[in-house]
């Protein structure tokens, strides 16, 4: 009898539920905000580190091997393991553990692409600038960086989309952004609406970020449009 009642009373568990979204908009927005904040911080910090590293690797040739090698090995370590290995030193429940881990992963892509971009500056362009009296700093800011920009931005796009996917793993530290919705939904009797909200927002965020960065690349490097 109770078995029958349970069958009849078993609540529906739809994948799409507006009432869930409406009733939990505060939570969803908070998770989304954490996701975006972690992603933006990751990319900004990684860029600030990657561009000087790439310049260093280009100036001091023997350094490029170790720089790319170390970041390559780091890239092979799964994020779940990296968070576990960093947590004792950066905090078991601190969002900085997630942030530092994500920056390390973004670095490899950004250093490589910046290096490729800088190496792609044609020698005659550099010579022409030298002939016009450009010093090292002016050469970098006004000639090399603009020419390398499309390659760097391609790296930023890959790193951003990958980071948005990776933030979810931060759930082990308690700071997984939209990933919290996924695992909370799973632990909450497989609450489909919560899981779907987390998954759909994650993919939408990645696609939106990629679109914005694509537009930004076109605005920043109008001369490269035809080649793109």
């Amino acid at each position: 009898m109770s078995f029958l009642a349970a069958r009849v009373l078993e609540p529906p568990n739809p994948w799409f539920s507006w009432s869930y979204v409406r009733d939990n908009s505060d939570t969803i927005l908070a998770r989304l905000r954490e996701h975006v904040t972690l992603t933006v911080l990751t990319i900004v910090i990684a860029l600030v580190i990657a561009v000087p590293l790439a310049i260093l690797a280009r100036q001091v040739r023997w350094l490029s091997g170790p720089i790319l090698g170390v970041s390559g090995v780091l890239y092979t370590v799964p994020s779940f393991a990296l968070f576990a290995l960093m947590a004792p030193f950066t905090g078991y429940t601190k969002s900085r553990t997630v942030l530092i881990g994500l920056v390390l992963y973004a670095l490899l892509v950004l250093v490589r692409n910046t290096l490729v971009g800088l190496e792609g500056v044609p020698a005659d362009v550099r010579e022409a600038a030298q002939g016009m009296g450009y010093g090292a700093a002016r050469m970098f800011w006004q000639v090399e960086l603009p020419v390398a920009l499309p390659a760097i931005m391609a790296g930023v796009r890959i790193a951003t989309v990958s980071t948005i996917a990776l933030v979810t793993v931060g759930v082990i530290i308690g700071h997984g952004g939209l990933g919290q919705l996924l695992v909370e939904g799973f632990n909450n009797n497989f609450f489909h609406a919560e899981i779907a909200a987390g998954a759909i927002l994650c993919v939408a965020l990645a696609l939106a970020a990629d679109g914005v960065l694509y537009a930004l690349t076109r605005i920043l490097s109008p001369w490269a449009r035809e080649r793109q």
Binding site: P78, F83, L166, V203, A206
Partner: protein
């Protein structure tokens, strides 16, 4: 106690090497899940990649598949599959989710490897009387093998890395050690789990790099090491893990 002595204490405790929660069982389970996922991925991606590459069609599709797959978090797919009761809980859901993520690198590399075959070589083979099947199996596949091996390596390393996440949604594998460690606030267990998972990923990467080297002819190897760094070289292994 320092984190290192706690980790050593965990790793030295014989109790952690027995039963279905033990390190050996979890390692074998991790490899079995990964192997099954890569196997399914190959069974789906290789025939499609070979066919598309052989006919020269579908270049846009392979690019689209690899770009879109990057935007889908593995954890999202793992969670969704783990809650669909028709698939069943635990490792079966994990295997299917991971197999889906093994497909893009396999498909892209197989397709690109096939398209990279010198048209003149293909022409010459045709002139020598090779057609359809013979051209595919005796000319194109042997020439595309180094890139197919590179795709296999990327896919396998990525799957081994990602299989760790199954622990978050009721699956098995070595990730359970990290997850249990966090659940029980056992610092030694967390760190030991991290070391074991990282070691397994690095060992997979190293051994498959060796396999890739073995199937790449010497001339191709020199060509590879001689060229400058390329953006496309960035491994995608952990990118979605």
């Amino acid at each position: 106690m320092s984190i290192f002595s706690e980790t050593l204490a965990y790793l030295n405790d014989p109790a952690n090497y027995t039963g279905t929660d033990g390190i050996p069982y979890r390692t074998v389970e991790h490899l079995a899940i990964s192997g099954a996922a890569v196997g399914i991925g190959c069974a789906v991606a290789l025939p499609i990649g070979l066919w598309l590459g052989h006919t020269g069609r579908g270049g846009g599709v392979t690019v689209l598949v690899s770009n879109v797959s990057r935007a889908i978090p593995t954890l999202a797919l793992l969670t969704i599959f783990a809650t669909i009761s028709a698939i069943g809980f635990g490792n079966r859901a994990t295997i299917i989710a991971l197999a889906i993520f093994a497909i893009p690198p396999l498909l892209t590399n197989t397709y690109v490897g096939m398209r990279d075959v010198d048209p003149e070589v293909r022409e010459a083979a045709r002139g020598m009387g090779f057609s359809g099947w013979g051209l595919l199996t005796r000319v194109e596949v042997p020439l595309a093998l180094p890139l197919i091996a590179a795709g296999f390596r990327t896919a396998a390393v990525q799957v081994v890395a990602t299989a760790t996440l199954a622990a978050l949604v009721g699956g098995g594998g070595l990730g359970t050690i990290i997850n249990d460690g966090f659940g029980q606030q056992n610092r030694g267990e967390i760190f030991a789990g991290g070391i074991l998972v990282a070691l397994l990923a690095l060992l997979t990467e190293l051994s498959l790099a060796l396999v890739q080297r073995l199937v790449t002819p010497r001339s191709g190897r020199e060509q590879r090491s001689a060229r400058p760094v390329e953006a496309a070289d960035v491994p995608e292994s952990a990118a979605v893990a």
